[in-house]
């Protein structure tokens, strides 16, 4: 019996070579095919592409099909142009020209040539007739479907394109590479293949990723992974080495989320976000949305929906997703994600950070300037290939843990481009910026837009733009200038504020936790004041959107008016029940220990904005004081400010200093309190 089994198995082995791979694929176009597109009688498989003798002059090897004469619309992008990366020209029509190989594939897949239209069938030249096929269009061409590439190649991964990992782009600081694996380092086991022509350069063609003869799904070279999705990802990552991808939130998402849309599992053999990597967001072919960078959906919608057919089936950033941003951005006040009118044409374009201020893209692309391209989408602030989970905020807090606050980018903001201003004289507009390939400080991301780089030149810090909160947007870089006399320590710690004089920092007793430790030596984040209204209640952190004006976050959310939007906070409110919601109170203790000061000032009805500038980012006067002739929006209603002179003095709990520190004749007191001009006040930038 053993012999019988051996013989039987030998026969089986002998018959193995006949089970050639292509026979079992859709590229077996003969009558024996199990696919829907097949010959009505022809049994030969190879002949649909190859013939051993007297082959076509263009195409290889041993090519037997006419080459399409199509003028394809080739892939292009702002990114390629800005990187000065050679964009694909027309696909070649002769051997040894880039793109010829891809044109061979397109001789079926562009839909212009009948599938059965081969040159020669055995000893017969077909002379324009074709092998009779079933499953094709009436003209014999490929029917509509995912395999029909068509003649517009703009929504497909580029082919006939050079592969050059050495191209780089210098930012003002930092260098952007193409994030491509060196040719010599491409894993040979992947079978991913570059094509070299007589120009000595390497090119990507259809056959770089696909092997038309393999049984692997989608004819991918890579078939070693556990699912089609993982095979596609390995195909991508064999060449694309995105900086910071390994270990990022999208490569290794926390808690291993899965799509609930059953179509994802059906299509890719896995529904785990972590398995789907690149193809959560990108699709290499037939992107029906025709978006930039082969993203699945128009900009933010890609982040909301991922690979699912709708947001509801996704485990992404849409409503119901694992980190729901969409809900937050649907609130009254927000960064206008999803609001931009012409997103489909790509309001945000990769590297647009290079074209802020007065600079325009010589390639004709859209830059950052609000005058021509006001927008804010996910990619403006996040790098989805590098973002990692987590922010600087401590558990159970709105802020960093005591004594740890910095302004360094948090994990979710890893690898985002930014700008760093060159700081001009106090209370003037910074107009010189260094572009950053990768921001190290959070504010460098915000200032891409909230400065001259986005809003352009303005006569004073107030720009020509009105925010969703109904106030004039200001140039925050102008306000945060380290040469200004005062400001929140977002850019630089107070001890290094070049514009200020002693005492540079507040006394710890004037502050609340977690700010009481070494206040002069700490910095803070834009996102310590601005965020979603319920960051402590489950909202995604960060200034995406809020129902509170100016995206003010924290236990107290109102400034300079109370929740009713009209009543200004006043001295009466400090320490009383009436101060409910005073935003400043999140960090500052206005009541303690200035008991003497508070007693003097209480019940006088003075409004906060009679002394302090309305926009508390910074001021040319110490301690965020403003003078009477300051313009709106710093001067509430244009006339709230009362002082015309102020100089700060050292904090002393027992000594309030001289009332002549402030000169405020506008109070109309006629000799009261601050009616003596003793000089030496902080200079007024407004003449």
């Amino acid at each position: 019996m053993k012999l019988l089994i051996t013989l039987t198995s030998m026969i089986f082995i002998f018959s193995l070579p006949l089970n050639a791979a292509v026979a079992n694929t859709k590229h077996n176009l003969s009558i024996t095919s199990t696919g829907t597109i097949k010959a009505t009688a022809e049994t030969e498989e190879c002949v649909f592409c190859h013939i051993p003798h007297v082959t076509r002059p263009a195409g290889s090897p041993l090519w037997n099909r006419s080459m399409p004469v199509t003028d394809y619309i080739m892939y292009n992008s702002d990114y390629l142009k800005r990187m000065a990366y050679p964009t694909p020209t027309a696909l070649g029509t002769q051997n040894d020209q880039p793109g010829t190989i891809s044109r061979q594939c397109l001789s079926c897949h562009d839909g212009t040539i009948a599938v059965g239209a081969v040159y020669k069938l055995r000893q017969t030249y077909l002379n324009g007739s074709a092998i009779s096929m079933s499953g094709v269009d009436i003209d014999g061409t490929l029917p509509l479907g995912t395999t029909l590439i068509g003649t517009d190649l703009t929504n497909h991964h580029p082919v006939g394109i050079e592969y050059d990992p050495n191209i780089t782009l210098n930012f003002g600081s930092g260098i952007r590479t193409m994030e491509l694996v060196a040719i010599s380092a491409i894993d040979p086991a992947s079978k991913i293949k570059l094509h070299t022509y007589s120009d000595g350069k390497s090119y990507v063609e259809c056959t770089s990723c696909h092997n038309p003869h393999t049984e692997n799904a989608k004819f991918l070279h890579v078939g070693t992974e556990a699912s089609l999705g993982a095979n596609i990802v390995k195909t991508c990552t064999t060449c694309h080495d995105k900086t910071g991808w390994t270990g990022s939130a999208h490569q290794l998402p926390p808690n291993s989320p899965s799509y609930t849309d059953p179509a994802v599992l059906t299509k890719y053999g896995t529904n785990k976000v972590g398995d789907l990597g690149c193809i959560n967001c990108h699709i290499p072919h037939n992107n029906e949305q025709n978006t930039n960078y082969l993203t699945r959906q128009v900009q933010a919608q890609t982040c909301y929906q991922g690979a699912a057919s709708s947001v509801s089936g996704a485990a992404c950033h849409g409503v119901g997703g694992v980190k729901d941003i969409e809900s937050v951005t649907n609130r009254n006040y927000k960064h206008p994600i999803g609001m931009s009118g012409t997103e489909g044409s790509g309001q945000h374009t990769n590297l647009d950070v290079l074209y802020g201020g007065d600079l325009t893209d010589p390639n004709g692309g859209l830059g950052l300037s609000w005058a021509t391209n006001k927008h804010a989408v996910c990619m403006d602030c996040h790098n989805p290939h590098q973002a990692k989970p987590g922010t600087h905020v401590a558990d159970g807090s709105w802020y960093a843990a005591p004594g740890t606050s910095t302004n360094a980018v948090s994990n979710v903001l890893t690898g985002v481009t930014g700008v760093e201003p060159t700081w001009p004289a106090s209370w003037t507009q910074p107009t010189v910026f260094t572009t950053l390939e990768s921001s190290t400080k959070e504010y460098q991301i915000c200032l891409k837009c909230h400065s001259y780089w986005g809003v352009g030149a303005s006569a004073d810090s107030a720009t020509g733009y009105v925010s969703l909160s109904g106030t004039i947007l200001t140039d925050v870089a102008w306000e945060m200038n380290i040469n200004n006399k005062s400001g929140h320590p977002v850019i630089i710690k107070q001890s290094l504020r070049t514009g200020s004089y002693a005492p540079q920092s507040l006394d710890p007793s004037q502050l609340l936790s977690p700010w009481t430790e070494n206040p002069g030596e700490s910095t803070m984040y834009c996102s310590d004041c601005h965020g979603s209204d319920a960051e402590m209640g489950g909202d995604a952190k960060g200034p995406h959107g809020s129902d509170l004006k100016y995206l003010l976050k924290g236990d107290n959310n109102f400034w300079p008016t109370k929740a009713d939007g009209t009543t200004l906070f006043s001295m009466d409110d400090i320490g009383n029940a009436g101060d409910t919601g005073l935003f400043c109170k999140n960090c500052h203790d206005p009541a303690y220990p200035h008991t003497q000061w508070r007693n003097n000032m209480s019940n006088r009805g003075f409004k906060c904005v009679e002394c302090h500038v309305v926009v508390p980012h910074g001021s040319p006067i110490s301690r965020l004081i403003g003078y009477t002739n300051f313009p709106e929006p710093y001067n509430y209603g244009g006339n709230s400010l009362k002082m015309t002179g102020w100089k700060k003095s050292a904090y002393d709990i027992n000594n309030l200093g001289n009332r002549t520190s402030a000169y405020a004749p506008a109070c109309g007191g006629g000799g009261m309190c601050h009616n003596s001009n003793v000089g030496g006040y902080d200079a007024n930038p407004y003449p």
Partner: protein
Amino acid sequence: MVGEGENMFKKKLSVVAALLVLGSASAYAGVITGSPHDLSATTTGVAVNGELCVFCHTPHAGNSAFTGAPLWNKASPTTDFTMYGATSAATNGQTIAQADTGVSDPSNSSLACLSCHDGVSSIDSIVNAPGSGLNSVTTVTSITTIGVNANANLTADLTNTHPISVTYIPGNASLKPTNTVLTGWQGAGTILDLLRGSGQDQVECGSCHDPHNGLADQATRSTEVNFLRHTNAGSALCLGCHDK
């Protein structure tokens, strides 16, 4: 019971053996008589005594300088060929993987075929004509060269024909191991049997073709190609070597 079992085993074994024999019996065997290589039947010129073999072979006084085929009855070919993957004549060929094949001319066994199929050399020019008359290069028929547009005219440009005089390297072009068993092939039981040259590792015309294995009714057939070692129905010939 034991004996019965043995008998049954023997019966089954004989069935298997019969199947194997049946397999080899279906070898793709053909003839030369009446095939396109039967030049006697296609000529109306001077008498050749109905001889078939004479257009290639002669029992005596052959061209012993040419070793491409036995008892060669034609002059040594002189055509300059452009090899597969080569940019011009007299330069080395290249594989699809752009590897230099190391040769700029077909080897002799293929040159034998090309001494007609280059479309240039005279078919009817032989060394030793039928009958007496040794060592006289003679025109024996009115056939000169293969028609310019004939399928069989490969021309001297071999860039558009399957590579020949190229080393068979398993793995390249999805080629199978040389010990792969071939079933039903004319003159070959394994791929190794198809290979030529001193190292028995070269692909030549004869790897796919057997010039004596023709079909007498070729003119009436549209689904077969002449002189193949195996039918190419289902592309079986191609897939014999290429594991695509």
